[in-house]
Symmetry: C2
Subunit: 283 residues, 2 copies
């Protein structure tokens, strides 16, 4: 039987000694000159970022909309990029999928059948039953957006209910699904550092957490890394997109992306080592 | 200045004397033999459905995931289909988009820049501020999923809050955005017929409502049409996908799709005429 996603997630992060997820989310208004003007240029840029950051990345996350805006040729860039990554690092299709179960079957077929992603991102607005297609394939994962990284996150996610803010119910259900199927995780935005700690406490250990929003969106590693690690000092993936892709908007973009990915991985690992040391001292 | 989406929606539905939205949501397990096996076959099928149903449709809705599952070649089918529809009927990209505002800009660019859709579907989980890019283009619309058509809809949408079930707050905000920008609408699933009436009462007149879930999902026109029309007997779009696309799974698919679209348009219009007559008699 194939390995459950949570186990594969854990194994790959350990083997690569990295918690860094590189967000391949190209923005046509920000990229270096060479990345613009044609899908071919975009493809060279994305493949260049993959080559440059591969030694430091535990995962790549690809935001579907960044490719869709270039039409079918953009989606072709996406599928070439997925292929170029190969079986490792992990590949996450970021599309915040959410629809009736029958449609979620098509999302599943796209991400895991047509393409070889390891996981997708999901929002829960249409209800838990819509996740059914994803529960049938424990070797492929899904990250439910529990608390997002943006200013509007509280509008729905923090609606008070008799059992606490609404997003706490999301965490509880993700935990249950993770225990039962071994392939559920949660997205929790870095700018809400308290939320990351709350999420880890509610999810328990060994449930993957994907934390976007460090760097350009203002999340701080000092807060996020200790808060998001589980009791083994594992289970956490920290995403950075713009700060890596646009580390240098000139001809040095590839070298600068590699340097920034290496630096970020180091910054994260340094904080993880401190957490592990402190925990070992207490034990 | 370009016409606001709500006005265009109203004008096209009246001019075409139809409230029917044909869902171009091809399912590889259900289509006639001729629609399967290659993107080219899928493209011929979708174009054939458009040709067959054009006289009866006020709008087409295209579920992105049905095309994504065929990869970039599938997305090419989608963009060819959008082009083949032309400026009318309306074209709605159904992708339940929902992400941080910066990503929603890319969704906007895909739907309205790269492609010529008239509107998209949206879910609100990440908060209202994420809709900002859509408020800047009043001539293009967005339909927020207020109450979906599936069994799991109540999980989040009907969470009790001090001001009623959560989805009522969605209706109130859609109404406010519609009044201010003229391009907001709501998705309300047909199987919850009471929800359609609740939504119309809360939205008021002239706010477009898209109602999926008649036919295969069990919604009944008898309940939906009177409940969803505004006080002018307008403002409603009823979507049917599977019942039209798969009216005949054999060689007669194109003729059968035309017949079913014509029948559905007639069934809807008959009920609308009864509503208008009854209201005129009361006035």
């Amino acid at each position: 039987m194939a390995q459950r996603f949570a186990d594969r997630f854990d194994r790959i992060l350990e083997a690569r000694d990295s918690l860094l997820c590189v967000g391949l989310d190209p923005d046509p208004e920000l990229g270096p000159e060479t990345s613009r003007g044609s899908p071919a240029a975009l493809g060279r840029f994305v493949r260049g970022i993959v080559e440059a950051t591969r030694p430091y990345a535990a995962a790549y996350k690809m935001q579907l909309a960044c490719y869709l805006r270039h039409g079918s040729a953009g989606v072709r860039v996406l599928e070439d990029a997925v292929e170029s990554v190969g079986p490792e690092p992990l590949k996450i299709l970021d599309l915040k999928a959410n629809d009736i179960a029958n449609t979620m079957r098509h999302v599943h077929a796209a991400a895991f059948g047509r393409w070889d992603f390891d996981a997708v991102t999901i929002t829960p607005w249409l209800g838990w039953e819509t996740l059914a297609p994803f529960l049938e394939t424990p070797e492929r994962g899904f990250f439910v957006v529990a608390h997002s990284s943006n200013p509007g996150a509280p509008d729905f996610q923090e609606i008070p209910t008799p059992r606490g803010p609404l997003w706490h119910a999301v965490l509880a259900e993700v935990r249950r699904l993770a225990q039962e199927h071994g392939n559920a995780g949660a997205v929790v935005g870095a700018p809400y550092a308290d939320a990351v700690a709350t999420a880890r406490a509610a999810l328990g250990p060994r449930v993957p957490m994907l934390v976007p929003g460090v760097g350009a969106q203002g999340g701080a590693l000092d807060a996020v890394v200790p808060a998001g690690l589980d009791d083994r000092g594992r289970g956490l993936l920290v995403n950075a997109s713009r700060s890596i892709l646009y580390a240098d908007a000139g001809t040095g973009w590839k070298r600068a992306a590699a340097a920034e990915a290496e630096r970020l991985r180091g910054e994260i690992n340094r904080r993880r080592a401190a957490v592990r040391t402190a925990r070992a001292a207490r034990a």
